[in-house]
């Protein structure tokens, strides 16, 4: 898969920036508006998917190889786990031990924004890994046989 035409690539390059920005907004404001770690992470992965479609799947995979994606994925989960464990030291597992702050402010709600950020890393990277892993199946034809005509173009 070599990617699509110049027009698509140029637009994708511009739009992806905004998609990533929007995903960051959804994550960071997750505790005061609708949204949060999971939707933000999905939007992040969808931005990467757009890049994959426009430039071919090798381009994002060159930036973030599978091995590193797996590590990042685990780090996201470990971040969430660590926040829960820190709560344990303060008294209860998952205790929201930071100051709650004033409602409707960006820095408020204690550990919630931190949880959202680690969830978004986990979701975004693992969804990216799923997409990459599924698209790597190029042998989508019978064992030993040739790829069918209509599938060779991707």
């Amino acid at each position: 898969m070599k990617g699509m035409s110049l027009i698509v690539r140029t637009i994708a390059r511009v739009v992806t920036t905004f998609i990533f920005l929007y995903s960051a907004y959804i994550v960071v404001y997750g505790h005061i508006t609708p949204g949060g770690g999971f939707p933000g992470g999905v939007i992040l992965a969808l931005g990467v998917m757009l890049l994959m479609l426009a430039f071919g799947r090798e381009v994002p995979l060159r930036k973030l190889p599978e091995g590193r994606a797996s590590v990042l994925d685990c780090l996201g989960a470990l971040g969430f786990w660590a926040i829960a464990l820190l709560g344990l030291t303060a008294g209860y597992f998952f205790l929201n031990f930071l100051g709650k702050g004033e409602p409707f402010r960006l820095v408020s709600a204690g550990t919630m924004p931190l949880c959202n950020i680690s969830i978004s890393v986990k979701v975004g990277v693992s969804l990216f890994a799923v997409l990459a892993a599924l698209s790597i199946y190029r042998r989508f034809y019978p064992p030993g046989g040739e790829p069918p005509e209509d599938m060779s173009g991707g």
Binding site: T33, P34, G145
Partner: protein
Amino acid sequence: MIPYLFATVMLLIGLYAIVARRNLIKIVIGVAITEYAINLFLILLGYRTKGVPPILGKGMDLKEFASSSVDPLPQALTVTSIVIGLGVMALLVALVLRLYEKYGTLDESEMKRLKG
């Protein structure tokens, strides 16, 4: 009563696809339908006519908000079950791809390596 009937009917459609279809992809779609039947059911459970979204805005009266907002808990449950469904679907599709690689077909009736 309507959510219950609706969910049951949709669940049965999904089950029909799982039981009666031979194509692996169609079976996977059947699983997706059953999952979404339940998601829809959970959302309908918390719905209330003319309700407001369960998001507390600035300067809203707490009592009035609580008496008019829809139930947020089923929505949280639905998000969780969607996330689980995503994981299940990714694994199912990966399995189907590997099976296609082995057999060169998506027809379930041609895969009889197991004794039943």
